[in-house]
Amino acid sequence: MSVDLDSLYQEIILDHYRNPHHAGLRDPFESEVHHVNPTCGDEITLRVHLDGEPGHETVSDVSYDAEGCSISQAAASVMADLVIGQQVDEALRKHQAFLELMQSRGTIEPDEEVLEDGIAFAGVSKFPARVKCALLGWMAFKDATSTILAGTASTTTPEENR
């Protein structure tokens, strides 16, 4: 088996894939988004619940219903672990760090302090076709959170496109 393949399918990733954390859609939430990867059809419906004073919000909950490959499912699970309980600023900083890691084509040494289990995805950045999979949940989180902060959130399920 090629070394590269094992760097893609890290044990941590396969564990999250088999037992995703924080999966399922929960109340309460201020924003719900539905993202798809148009090339392969992977989908995620994701809800974000924020608490706290404007300017000092905390991510109280992220819940999701995702259909997709091991990489996209595991990335959503790790993402939820990483951002729940964080200040919004910190959560978005983790989003940025993960995005940079994914765009690095294997050139960045990820910071375990910031990304924790997320460092297991470093190998994914060497597989350009899979980067979108790893980012699907993260992009949905960023989108949902931004719409809450901008006051344009929708709390009804977007037009389904399944």
Partner: protein, 426 residues
């Protein structure tokens, strides 16, 4: 890898090893020195040396614009371009070369028909209250243009559903094809399920109510003899890159009476008869539908490609595809946890086989196969509605062609078993 099975499988092309040598890419070694096993031909086919050479020769020796250059190279280039039209007309058994229009791809050809039917005035016009009928197994390229047409005109879009074994459900044909139906557009061979549809029968029913029949032959032209006259269709489209030709060129064949009545699609150079600042008159077919500098080198390559397929014989290629597809279906049937979508009888289908592997997502299947040098496609294959019909979000698709060997199928089936082991589902 040896093609030992090839001598034992009836229907295979007898000179398979010779044919493989025509395709330089098939001798490529991938990373880790793995031989390429290319099972993604429904996505795009590989190109034989003669196609590559024809294009290189044109660029090296004959390059000039067509129709508008009054010099020797211009004449040579025009001649090569128009010769390609003759070759495609012969490939399709078209009654007239003028009925062969070069487009960018199959998608553009379908958009050409859908748009000009909206713009037509008189009996061809698709307007509010009219009906367009498609099927649930279409490629998005034969869905979206008709959605755009019906949404813009207020016409009604309807479709044939599918049976559980992946055939068209024709039980409601009388409700679908009625006096209101102006267009019936369907694929000849499904790119997801592999199903071969009864095009002539549906065309006959559609013509009884005066509807126009459009056939998407993108998956048929590579592997079946396509005789546009016998098909009963009014319009047949296909795309160059799936018939061993280059990308950037597609074909629209249409009956002259129809094409003559349709308004132009794109405006520009070459499609006109005369132009004043106020208005223009248009060239006759085929030029009426070929605005601007056409894909000249691509047409030359396509001409070489259809000659190549013609020399091997589409009947022989079809038999080869059926033999390989039957062998592949048998192989998959031996693997527990694998479910094939679409007909299981190789005589009822083309060479694209979509399947699911229990517990492993198609992306992960194709990633693992890629690590063994096996190229397949994962996703919805631009047929989301057909996937939805079978309750799946995506699938893995293996698609063979005239160069595929039984040994490659063996490697593929072993790859699926290894994938199941890697993900611990077997």
């Amino acid at each position: 890898m040896t093609a030992t099975g090839s001598s034992t499988l009836p229907g295979l092309l007898p000179d398979l090893e010779v044919i493989r040598k025509d395709f330089p890419i098939l001798s490529r070694r991938l990373a880790d020195d793995r031989p390429l096993v290319y099972l993604d031909s429904a996505n795009t086919s590989q190109k034989p040396q003669c196609v590559i050479d024809a294009m290189v020769d044109h660029l090296e020796r004959h390059n000039a614009n067509v129709a508008r250059a009054m010099h020797q190279l211009g004449a040579e280039s025009s001649e090569a371009f128009e010769a390609a039209r003759d070759k495609v007309a012969a490939f399709l058994n078209a009654p007239s070369r003028d009925e062969v229009i070069f487009t960018k791809n199959a998608s553009e050809a379908l958009n050409l028909v859908a748009n000009t039917l909206a713009w037509a005035r008189g009996p061809l016009e698709v307007a509010e209250g009219d009906r367009v009928v498609i099927t649930q197994m279409e490629h998005h390229s034969n869905i979206v243009p008709w959605q755009l047409l019906t949404q813009r005109t207020g016409a009604d879009l309807r479709w044939f559903g599918l049976t559980d074994d992946g055939q068209l459900d024709l039980s409601d044909i009388d409700e679908l094809i009625t006096e209101r139906t102006k267009v019936v557009s369907l694929t000849w061979v499904s790119n997801m399920l592999g199903t071969i549809n009864p095009v002539a029968e549906i065309a006959r029913r559609a013509h009884e109510v005066g509807a126009i029949v459009v056939v998407d032959a993108s998956q048929a032209a590579p592997q079946l003899p396509v005789d546009v006259q016998a098909s009963g269709a009014d319009v047949v489209v296909f795309t160059g890159h799936k018939v061993t030709g280059p990308t950037g060129i597609g074909v629209l064949w249409g009956k002259r009476e129809l094409l003559d009545q349709l308004p132009p699609f794109l405006g520009g150079g070459e499609m006109i008869e005369t132009v004043t600042m106020e208005r223009s008159t248009y060239a006759g077919i085929p030029h009426k539908f070929e605005a601007g500098t056409p894909p000249i080198v691509e047409a030359v390559g396509l001409g070489a490609a259809v000659d190549y397929l013609g020399a091997i014989g589409l009947d022989n290629i079809h038999r080869h595809e059926q033999a390989i597809t039957g062998y592949l279906l048998e192989g998959l049937a031996t693997v527990p946890g694998v479910t094939v979508l679409g007909p299981l009888d190789p005589t009822l289908r083309g060479g694209a086989v979509s399947f699911e592997v229990d517990g492993v997502h198609p992306h992960d299947v194709s990633q693992l196969l890629d690590s063994f040098g096996i190229a397949v496609r994962a996703g919805h294959h631009c047929a989301k509605p057909a996937h939805k019909r079978f309750g799946v979000q995506s699938s893995t698709r293996a698609s063979s062609y005239l160069y595929t060997t039984p040994a490659e199928v063996d490697a593929f089936v072993e790859g699926i078993i290894a994938t199941q082991k890697y993900f611990k589902v077997a």
